[in-house]
């Protein structure tokens, strides 16, 4: 399912999550964009899907590869146009 940014009057930012395009409003964190894309943020060491718990850079459940930078806490980073996000 592809969702559009909820405020049509603000220019949307488009980035890709695991290769699929996602449009979000400015000020959206990469962690929120990953959830909007429908993907978990990572797969745990025993193979279970995970999504953010704390939302504030403490739990590391949201870590993802962003523009080739591995293990970034995606809840602490804002979306930018053209970003390439890969979940782990």
């Amino acid at each position: 399912m592809h969702e559009h940014a909820h405020k049509s009057d603000t220019p949307a930012i488009t980035l890709t999550v695991n290769g699929a395009a996602v449009s979000v409003a400015p000020g959206t964190t990469v962690a929120a964009a990953i959830l909007i894309s429908g993907s978990p943020t990572r797969i745990s060491v025993t193979g279970k899907p995970r999504a953010p718990l704390c939302g504030m850079g403490i739990c590391f459940e949201c870590r993802a590869s962003i523009n080739g930078f591995a293990h970034r806490r995606s809840c602490q980073i804002l979306c930018e146009s053209g970003m390439d996000v890969r979940t782990l």
Binding site: C54, M56, G57
Partner: protein, 443 residues
């Protein structure tokens, strides 16, 4: 890159902002570092209208001569007076930007804030089970939740604030479950009457959440769903019932972020950094303000931050009024602690299969055979993952009564190239040697 500050403040929440603003009045070189992309900390997060106090302090910060380092986190301290920080965000590909900086300081103010306490229960690792502040932060960060069904649970004044905000965003708050019994909350409400500002806050919240079920002495015992949360089982007075929902926002009040104070060797008593009249810790030149000295909320954090900012720049004579305000705020700290003390029955929430350490997937059934955090860590890897025990540490402290294990650098994951360049965490790292020494002492 190497920089020197007369006063360096770590953490850009209310305490850190007020500390930096007051310190900057002295005319010295003041730095303010935070891993978030903008100032405000967790409580003054963007994405919603901010209270007047927040707007006022953010405006004062913007007008002050403070060097802002947003999107950086401290990971080590090679020697007294020096911190190493690494970039949390992404380096710009256009410029040759450094991945780490060396920060030198005369005075250091620790305003590292607090995080939510999470308690393990069956299903708490499912996607869409988040903290109360956690879901709130995600929504402020752009997560779309309009029309979603939400259960807010745990303990503490944050639950009502989160429920009110999420209701305002067009969600359906099915229930607010506060673990504390009503008998404990009543005296808390009475104490609030002596604090007019907080009463107004409380009333506003009650109106915003009207029509929502508010249960006391109630908590989630299980979350279920295929691949993501679909339903929560709640318990109250021995009765259990299931509630289908889209999100569970569950946090058991707050615990302070003590990693940096502990790395620096600051004295800690009953889980909080000890400070004197001028917010000075046991380590000369290192001050501390806000939640790490006691969970007391925004107003107290601003008072302590200002005292620290003034004290760090030798202007304690300006802090007289603030000292009185701090005394009043500290009464609120005690009231909070008593009202929202955890029910011991919450220790029995995890089943043998419930994961306690989310990074290394270590279940409760494996951990209960150990007697200390260190013992469990060495044998099961509990607390050795990416979060370094930030989540499971507070849980095992409550569930098993285990004291937090010693703090070793790097206190946040850092890249190998940074570690190689700085020597942090290696055999020649003096702070590491200190930790090893402490460990020998405690064995």
């Amino acid at each position: 890159m190497n920089e020197h500050f007369h006063v360096l403040v770590i953490g850009a929440g209310p305490a850190g902002i007020s500390a930096a603003v007051r310190a900057a009045e002295s005319g010295g070189h003041v730095g303010l570092l935070d891993d978030n992309p903008a100032a405000g900390g967790q409580i003054w997060r963007k994405g919603a209208s901010l209270p007047k106090t927040a707007r006022m302090w953010l405006a004062r910060l913007n007008a002050a001569s403070v060097e802002r380092l947003h999107g950086w986190h401290v990971f080590g301290s090679p020697t007294s007076g020096v911190l190493f920080a690494e970039r949390t965000g992404l380096a710009s590909p256009a410029a040759e930007q450094a991945d780490f900086i060396e920060l030198n300081y005369d005075k250091l103010i620790l305003a590292t804030g607090a995080r939510e306490r999470f308690l393990p229960f069956p299903g708490w690792t499912l996607p869409n089970v988040m903290g109360a502040g956690g879901l709130d932060a995600m929504v402020r960060g752009g997560l779309r939740i309009k029309g979603k069904r939400i259960v807010v649970a745990g303990t503490g004044p944050l639950l009502l604030a989160v429920a009110a905000h999420l209701a305002h965003r067009g969600t359906q708050i099915l229930a607010i479950c506060e673990q504390a019994p009503l008998s404990r909350l009543r005296p808390f409400a009475m104490r609030l009457l002596t604090q007019p500002g907080k009463v107004a806050q409380g009333i506003g919240l009650r109106i915003a959440t009207r029509g929502t079920h508010f249960y006391t002495g109630c908590w989630p015992v299980a979350a279920t769903g295929r691949g993501r949360l679909e339903s929560v089982t709640l318990q109250r007075r021995g009765k259990q019932w299931e509630l289908p929902c889209d999100y569970l926002a569950c946090g058991y009040h707050l615990v302070p972020n003590l990693e940096l104070p502990r790395l620096l060797g600051c004295g800690i008593h009953e889980g909080f950094v000890t400070t004197d009249k001028w917010q000075q810790t046991s380590i000369p030149g290192v001050l501390c303000a806000g939640e790490p000295t006691g969970i007391g909320g925004v107003e107290l954090a601003i008072v302590e931050g200002q005292i620290a900012g003034l004290a760090a720049t030798g202007r304690v004579e300006k802090a007289d009024d603030l000292i009185q305000k701090r005394t009043r705020g500290q009464r609120f700290v005690r009231a909070l602690r008593e009202a929202f003390e955890l029910d011991p029955r919450l220790r029995a929430l995890p089943s043998a299969e419930t994961l306690v350490c989310r990074c290394e997937d270590v279940p409760f059934g494996v951990l209960r055979d150990y007697t200390s955090a260190r013992d469990a860590k060495l044998h099961t890897r509990c607390g050795m993952g990416a979060c370094q025990g930030r989540i499971c540490g507070a849980a095992t402290e409550f569930v098993f009564g285990w004291a937090m294990d010693s703090m070793r650098p790097p206190i946040l994951p850092a890249s190998l190239s940074t570690l190689a360049a700085t020597g942090v965490g290696g055999a020649h790292d003096p702070s590491n040697t200190t930790s090893n020494q402490n460990r020998r002492d405690t064995l």
